[in-house]
């Protein structure tokens, strides 16, 4: 089982579940959780490819560090936007946010 394919199949399952979460939820915080799952699936793929490419170069690990930094930045900005949305319209339902005026 210690092959590239097994890790990739699990990462694909995590990606599909995160995508399902993003498609079905209406709560903005729940959508954010789905996005975190998708980013983690990408990270698993990067590290699995890095291990099974036959060389000892760690470029995939560096890419994963960058992805984690981007995920942290994205979560911070998304939560700031969500809190502002809650202050303006009183809920975090993304269907309620229809107005384009600030």
């Amino acid at each position: 089982m210690n092959t590239l394919e097994s890790y990739m199949i699990v990462a694909s399952a995590v990606f599909c579940l995160g995508l399902y979460n993003v498609m079905t939820r209406r709560n903005a915080v729940a959508i954010l959780m789905g996005i975190e799952l998708i980013l983690n699936a990408a990270n698993i793929n990067f590290i699995a490819f890095n291990r099974f490419n036959g060389t000892g170069v760690l470029d995939g690990h560096v890419m994963s560090v960058f992805i984690i930094a981007l995920a942290a930045a994205e979560a911070a900005v998304a939560l700031a936007i969500i809190i502002n949305l809650y202050r303006n319209i009183g809920s975090v339902d993304v269907d309620e946010a229809r107005s384009l005026r600030g």
Binding site: V10, N27, A30, G34, E36, R51, L58
Partner: protein
């Protein structure tokens, strides 16, 4: 032994991801996400990525998950007993996701991947540090500027309007 550990981690990971998707309570979803992130750190350890496993636990579990739980707590009304969240389009979305998963499995199992185990890496943090400061220096600096922008931007967005 490896197969037992791998299978149990995979099963638990997929179960907790399902819990994130189908749980009716947002706090339960956050707890399932906590377990999923920890199990992914276990994957990193099985892939000899010790530095990445530590970063995953520190940044994801210690940082992002706490931010998400803050978001849950700050945006829920207190008079409701539990934070109910509804789901829509479940049938269409599950069909689409199963279809996508089937396509991905087909592509993975029929792909012609390089599948050579690189073996153990000693002290991956040293190699990662050298790579970040030599080959990937420009993306590293761009990330640092991005983090500064995020710091200022999120503080500006979240503050009260005068």
């Amino acid at each position: 032994m490896f197969d037992v550990v791998f299978t149990s981690i995979s099963l638990l990971l997929i179960l907790s991801c399902l819990g994130v998707c189908i749980s009716k309570n947002l706090v339960h979803s956050a707890v399932c996400l906590f377990f999923a992130l920890f199990l992914i750190a276990g994957y990193y350890i099985m892939l000899y990525a010790d530095f990445l496993a530590a970063v995953q636990v520190i940044v994801y579990v210690g940082g992002i998950l706490v931010l998400i739980i803050f978001g849950v707590m700050l945006t829920s009304k207190l008079e409701k007993p539990s934070i109910n969240i509804s789901s829509f389009n479940q049938f269409t979305a599950s069909l689409l996701c199963l279809f996508l998963f089937a396509i991905q499995c087909y592509a993975i199992l029929n792909g012609n991947w390089i599948n050579v185990d690189a073996g153990t890496i000693e002290n991956s943090s040293k190699l990662i540090g050298r790579l970040i400061l030599s080959k990937h220096l420009l993306p590293f600096e761009i990330i640092s500027i991005l983090l500064l922008g995020v710091l200022i931007g999120s503080a500006t967005i979240a503050r009260k309007k005068r």
